[in-house]
Subunit: 186 residues, 2 copies
């Protein structure tokens, strides 16, 4: 056993999530979070670059999986088909975490600063998608448009999922949203 309790980052994440939900983001200081996690504020900033990032720890993982799925799609798949595969890969990651996702979304939705951070994560996904599509040989302009559109679908589907019926399957919602899109733009 080390000199301190293990998994300080995990404790900080939980403390932050709880406090943001209880007192709001603005009403919570980094010192509050650190106290609850049993460390100092300085340690908080060694684990997370800022007060927002503590809620977005899993985002690299999500991006990596989606991009891998996109890259691994059949060579002859059309852009939007490859995007679909990536969206379904994301659905797997969230499938058994609907409750946690809901609570997290509630906190984020309530705080403009956190929404900003979420948007930039989405933008990072767009960039990664664009790049992956170009690697597949998709024309640059088409790639960025497909990427942007794909993330729009992701956002809408996710929103539908967390606000919809409890037993809904995220993958189904993704497919349904994609179908709505082609109808809309027909």
């Amino acid at each position: 056993m080390g000199r301190w309790e293990p998994d300080a980052a995990g404790r900080l994440r939980e403390a932050a999530m709880a406090l943001y939900a209880e007192q709001g983001f603005d009403g919570t200081t980094v010192a509050d979070i650190a106290d609850r996690a049993g460390v100092t504020a300085r340690t908080f900033f060694r684990h997370f670059v800022d007060k927002r990032e503590v809620l977005f720890a899993g985002s690299e993982e999500l991006q990596r999986r989606m991009v891998d799925a996109l890259t691994g799609a059949p060579r002859d798949a059309e852009p939007m088909d490859a995007i679909t595969i990536a969206l379904l890969a994301a659905a797997e990651l969230f499938a058994d975490r609907r409750d946690h996702s809901r609570r997290r979304q509630a906190v984020i939705a309530a705080t403009p600063e956190l929404r900003e951070r979420e948007f930039i994560k989405m933008a990072s996904l767009v960039t990664a998608f664009t790049e992956a599509l170009r690697q597949r040989g998709v024309e640059p302009d088409t790639a960025s448009l497909a990427a942007e559109t794909g993330i729009a679908v992701f956002r809408v589907a996710f929103e539908r999922w967390v606000t919809g019926p409890e037993d809904a399957d995220l993958a189904d919602v993704m497919r349904g949203t994609l179908a709505d899109l082609s109808e809309l733009t027909a």
Copy 2:
């Protein structure tokens, strides 16, 4: 003539834009901006809620015009047609400011914090579009998807315009991007 030079907000906007371009966003303090504008830092925060907002002064105007255009679209226009009208209204606003738009975009693109702020402005547009579409009688789910897609097109088109040939017409680029979208999702 008043006790102070008039249009402090305007001077602050210009000073901020110039300094962010010269020294970067992080390398510029609010005190720097205020000094150049001939006021105190406290005054900066009376005009802008934070250090980022100074670059987004015109965004309410943009949103108002686009929503008005969307609301004013013919009653029988399909959702994406109404969206198109709104995008063309935005194009008018930027038509003669391509150079300024380019410089501003360059600064924003170089700074994650500013990109975050830009994204939330776009999100605000999505919300406003969604609401306006629902007012037109569009089904809620369709409305949010159309809004999200419309803003995606706006973003892509704007990007194409500022990076493309100097004499390109933003309205044409918007139409072209929309055409690309329907082809993509066909």
